[in-house]
C-alpha cells in the first residue's frame, strides 16, 4: 500500500505537535512547514535583550520537529505577508492581529508547498473554540475554502466535530483514531501529550505573534500614522520590538535602548538614523526616526539626558550623529514630570 504524505503546519506549540504525531501514528509520512512573518515572537526578544540571555534560545518549531523526527521547512513570507497585515479581508482581532486572514494565508501557502512537493494532504493543530477569532466552528470551513485546501485540510484534534475530509473518506486516515477536542480547555491536549510521552512542550501564554500584543500594535499604528501610509519594512517591525519608544512631536520618534543588549542591537542601525548618546555620563543609545528640526534635536537631547546617569545633573553633554557628522549638545535633562504620558507609545 502506498505510504501517504502529509505536510503539517508546525507553530512550535503543543497542538500542532500533537496533530502531527496523531497522523504519524497512522503510518503517514509527515514533514513540517513553518512560516516566518517577521512578527513571530519566537527568539527575537531573547536574542536582543541581555537580561534574557539566560533563557533557552531554542526555536520551538525546530525543537518540535526534532521530537517528532520529521523534517521542517521554514519559509520566509515577510513580503507576501504584508498584504495580510495591511488589508485583512476578515478584519483585525483585539489589536492589529489579522488572525483569520493569517490562518487562511498560511494554509494556502502550505497547500502550494503540498502541490509542488507531491504531498497528499495538509494537517493543522486547530481546535474548534480554542481561539476567539480564527478557531471557531464557523471559521473552520472558511479557512478550508478560502485557502483552496478544501477537504485536503485535516484537523486531527477536532476532526470528529467536522465533516470527513478526503484523507478520511479515502481511508488514508482512520477517522476513529482522530479526536473531538473543542473549547479553550487544555486538559485533553495535556492528557494526549502524556499518552504520547511528551513531557516538555511550549505553552505560549499570549500567542506566538507580536500583533496580538496591545503595546506592539500601538507602536505599529503610530508608525503608520506618522508616515501617512500603512506600509512597513522588516527593519521597521524589528525596531518596534526594541527599546522605549517616545514621540514628542509628530515629525519624529525616539527609540531609547533600555539595556546593554538593546544598545548593541540598535548600534547596527546607527548609519540609517540620526543617533544620540550621552558622553558626559553613561546612558542609552537613542535612534531618532523621522525628520527632526534643530529645535527637535535639542528636545530629544534633553530627553536622552533624562534617561542617562546624569538625570539629576544640571547639564549633560550629548553626542548627536546626523548623516555621518558628529557634534555635541550640552542640555539640561528634562525632568520626569515634564514628560507627558502621551509621548510614550
Amino acid at each position: 500500500m502506498q505510504q501517504r504524505k502529509a505536510v503539517a503546519l508546525i507553530s512550535g506549540g503543543l497542538d500542532s505537535m500533537l496533530a502531527a504525531r496523531v497522523v504519524q501514528e497512522q503510518g503517514v509520512h509527515v514533514e513540517g512547514i513553518n512560516f516566518f512573518t517577521g512578527f513571530c515572537v519566537e527568539g527575537h526578544t531573547h536574542a536582543i535583550r541581555k537580561k534574557d540571555k539566560a533563557k533557552s534560545k531554542r526555536n520551538s518549531a525546530l525543537w518540535v520537529a526534532e521530537q517528532l523526527g520529521i523534517q521542517l521547512h521554514i519559509i520566509d513570507i515577510i513580503e507576501e505577508y504584508k498584504d495580510v497585515v495591511i488589508n485583512p479581508k476578515h478584519g483585525y482581532g483585539a489589536h492589529l492581529n489579522p488572525c483569520l486572514d493569517c490562518k487562511i494565508f498560511m494554509v494556502a501557502k502550505a497547500n502550494e508547498w503540498r502541490r509542488d512537493n507531491a504531498f497528499d494532504f495538509i494537517l493543522t493543530g486547530e481546535v474548534i473554540g480554542q481561539r476567539p477569532m480564527s478557531q471557531r466552528k464557523e471559521t473552520m470551513p472558511v479557512v478550508a475554502g478560502e485557502s483552496g485546501a478544501d477537504d485536503l485540510l485535516l484537523r486531527p484534534l477536532c476532526a470528529k466535530n467536522l465533516p470527513p475530509t478526503l484523507p478520511e473518506r479515502e481511508g488514508w486516515i482512520d477517522r476513529d483514531a482522530l479526536y473531538d477536542f473543542s473549547g479553550r480547555s487544555r486538559k485533553p491536549q495535556m492528557a494526549l501529550a502524556t499518552a504520547f510521552g511528551f513531557e516538555d512542550y511550549s505553552q505560549p501564554a499570549g500567542g506566538c505573534c507580536f500583533l496580538t500584543d496591545e503595546h506592539y500594535s500601538d507602536k505599529l499604528a503610530d508608525l503608520w500614522r506618522a508616515r501617512g501610509s500603512r506600509e512597513y519594512e522588516l527593519d521597521d517591525i524589528m525596531l518596534l520590538k526594541v527599546g522605549r519608544h517616545l514621540r514628542p512631536r509628530p515629525n519624529f520618534k525616539m527609540i531609547i535602548a533600555r539595556e546593554e543588549g538593546e544598545t548593541k542591537f540598535l548600534k547596527g542601525y546607527r548609519k540609517a538614523f540620526t543617533s544620540m548618546n550621552p558622553v558626559s555620563h553613561s546612558g542609552p543609545l537613542v535612534l531618532i526616526d523621522g525628520d527632526p528640526t534643530e529645535d527637535d534635536l535639542k528636545l530629544a537631547a534633553s530627553l536622552t539626558a533624562r534617561y542617562s546617569q546624569g538625570r539629576e545633573a544640571e547639564t549633560v553633554e550629548v553626542e548627536v550623529v546626523r548623516d555621518g557628522v558628529s557634534r555635541r549638545l550640552v542640555v539640561p535633562p528634562m525632568p520626569a514630570h515634564k514628560i507627558p504620558p502621551e509621548w510614550h507609545i
Binding site: 504519524q24 527568539g43 536574542a47 534560545k57 525546530l62 520566509d76
Partner: protein, 82 residues
C-alpha cells in the same frame, strides 16, 4: 572540498536558519558551508536544523561577539518519520 561562506550577521533567528536552508539547496553532498552569525540563538537552531535535515555540524565557535558554524552538507537522507 569546496567551502561556501554565508554572512548571516545582524539577522535574528530564524532568519539565519532560513538563509542556511536556502543556501544548502544549491550545494552538493559533502560541500562545506561556514555560517557567520551574531544571534546566539543560531548556536542552537542551526545544529538542530542540520540534525533534522541530515547534515553534519563540523565545528561551532564564538569569536568577538560572532558565532561561526561550519557544516557539511548531507545527502538529504534523514531518519524516517514514524
Amino acid at each position: 572540498m569546496k567551502k561556501t561562506v554565508l554572512n548571516a550577521r545582524r539577522l535574528l533567528c530564524p532568519l539565519p536558519v532560513i538563509r542556511v536552508q536556502n543556501t544548502v539547496k544549491n550545494l552538493g553532498t559533502g560541500e562545506i558551508l561556514e555560517v557567520v552569525c551574531t544571534d546566539p540563538g543560531a548556536l542552537s537552531d542551526i545544529p538542530t536544523w542540520c540534525r533534522i535535515n541530515g547534515h553534519r555540524v563540523i565545528t561551532s565557535r564564538s569569536e568577538h561577539d560572532e558565532y561561526i558554524i561550519t557544516l557539511e552538507v548531507g545527502d538529504g537522507a534523514v531518519q524516517p518519520a514514524r
